[in-house]
């Protein structure tokens, strides 16, 4: 599994990760700052563990320096190391299923009744990003960002530029951001021909290219509005367009018998599995709003995001958190609820009849399915005797989808057709 091939590269992440907390007047003015013109550094480590599936460890170091003219340089390094197995898109069967590894040089098997998982990937990704923020004048700022990341089958680089304009006595901020990203995908074994059948290791698997690529562009327009002394709101509209290779080269769709729902015999494998095929472009619109309010010494936040794209996916995300502040520490519970509709070319599997008439696009990647997820988290922040900030965050992530869809056929009714997921997240951060 690859947590995903693309590292998250929209502007918002690029910028905020690199400059730490400093992407607006707020952090410069933070009365808690103990270092005023040296390097401020955060080191953090995240552990992500799914039950029976993927695990990742992600150490990070993020540092920033504020100069005499209040400009800020930020640098961030993330290493993430992944192990474990991820669903390959095929559906469970009453029989043992054999799949060929992406390299073509080995195979793996799934027991009867199990959701097929591909455990080929133990991958490490390294990502480096930098940003530079400076004032043009009292009310205007520019933030420049650049990033590069690499893992064994994926390389990504990009840049961004944002312009922030305060107006109305700094009660409002308008932000305009543009980011571009270029990805090079080198699938292990080469990119398979979309919708072609997976062949056994003993047969030839025709492959398309050694290398594929993709270009992404994103525009974000934001407005921050201070409602009153204790309340602030933000609204963002984002438009993202990507063009190029979007297929997941390691995912397949099972072709099943029209009546029994059992996998039908393929060319060289005991099952018929068709490689993932997605459009070579994707346009996404997102609308995000956030409200933050201080309740005495505490604060609470609610946010909502609506996203829709031209693949037929639309999603809603709601997040809530409340931070209870004490003199030297704080506790912050949080909740997130997410729901998405399926991409119009998503199928949990296809029947033999339908396979004759698929069309251009088909994917059984659970990430494009109709699904919903809940995250419950709690974070505690405190100072250590050296006066530096620490925090520990724990979260539980649960994802579910249509495990028993109405179009399940035959044996499929006995199995879960969506690979339910649950994961525990633990994060520790130290700032100095």
């Amino acid at each position: 599994m690859q947590l995903n091939h693309s590292t998250n590269k929209n502007i918002r992440k690029l910028l905020k990760t690199a400059t730490g907390c400093l992407l607006g007047a707020s952090c410069v003015a933070n009365a808690d700052e103990n270092s005023l013109s040296g390097w401020e550094t955060d080191i953090a480590i995240l552990s992500y563990t799914e039950t029976d599936r993927v695990s990742a460890i992600e150490p990070t170091i993020n540092t920033k320096k504020t100069f005499d003219d209040d400009s800020i340089l930020g640098i961030k390094l993330v290493v993430d190391s992944l192990t474990g197995a991820s669903p390959n898109g095929a559906t469970p069967s009453n029989n043992v299923q054999t799949f060929t590894r992406p390299s073509g040089k080995g195979s793996y098997q799934t027991a009867s009744g199990e959701t097929p998982l591909d455990d080929t990937f133990q991958d490490t990704r390294i990502s480096l990003s930098g940003s530079y923020q400076h004032d043009i004048n009292r009310m205007d700022k520019l933030i420049w960002g650049a990033n590069v990341s690499n893992e064994f089958d994926f390389f990504s680089t990009g840049g961004s530029l944002s312009y922030l304009h305060d107006f109305n006595h700094r009660l409002n901020t308008l932000s305009l951001g543009l980011s571009m990203e270029y990805d090079v995908i080198t699938p292990q074994g080469g990119s398979p021909i979309a919708l072609a059948q997976m062949q056994a290791t003993t047969s030839t698997q025709p492959k398309l290219n050694d290398t594929e690529n993709k270009v992404l562009g994103e525009l974000v327009i934001g407005l921050t509005h201070i409602i009153n002394r204790e309340t602030i709101a933000q609204f963002n509209y984002g438009y993202a367009q990507s063009s190029g290779y979007h297929n997941d080269p390691y995912k397949v769709t099972s072709v099943v018998d029209n009546l029994t729902g059992e996998s039908i015999v393929g060319d060289s494998l005991s099952g018929t599995y068709l490689y993932d095929s997605r459009p070579d472009s994707r346009n996404r619109h997102s609308f995000y709003s956030q409200l933050k309010h201080a309740f005495g010494a505490d604060s609470a936040e609610v946010s909502y995001r609506y996203m829709f794209d031209d693949w037929g996916i639309n999603s809603h995300t709601i997040e809530l958190s409340y931070q209870k502040n004490f003199d030297d520490w704080y506790i912050q519970p949080s909740l997130r609820y997410y729901t998405q509709s399926a991409a119009n070319f998503y199928r949990h599997s296809i029947t033999e009849t339908d396979a004759a008439n698929i069309g251009d696009y088909l994917s059984s990647d659970y990430r494009l399915a109709e699904m919903w997820s809940t995250t419950i988290g709690i974070k505690v922040g405190f100072k250590t005797p050296d006066g530096n900030k620490n925090s520990i965050r724990l979260a539980y992530y649960y994802q579910d989808g249509n495990t028993s869809p109405s179009d399940a056929i035959g044996i499929q009714k006995d199995y879960e057709l969506f690979p339910t997921l649950d994961a525990v997240i633990v994060q520790y951060t130290y700032s100095f």
Partner: protein, 68 residues
């Protein structure tokens, strides 16, 4: 989508704020920054991007003490 516009309306209805520059003490608090834990947000964004079909959204500007 309607929920988004509802939030916009609710917020902008408090539009006639006349907060003076010396009344930004609460907004200047670190927990009142729009993204007060950017490392957490970055980790979360990465996880959700890898497990779901949507990405990003959160913004990054404005608020705070309004100084300088």
């Amino acid at each position: 989508m309607r929920l988004f516009f509802l939030m916009v309306l609710v917020c902008l209805s408090g539009c006639s704020a006349s907060l003076t520059p010396w009344e930004r003490d609460i907004l200047a608090r670190s927990d009142m920054a729009l993204d007060n834990a950017p490392l957490d947000s970055a980790f979360n964004d990465h996880i959700y991007f890898s497990k779901e079909a949507s990405s990003g959204g959160r913004g990054f500007s404005g608020g705070g003490c309004g100084c300088n």
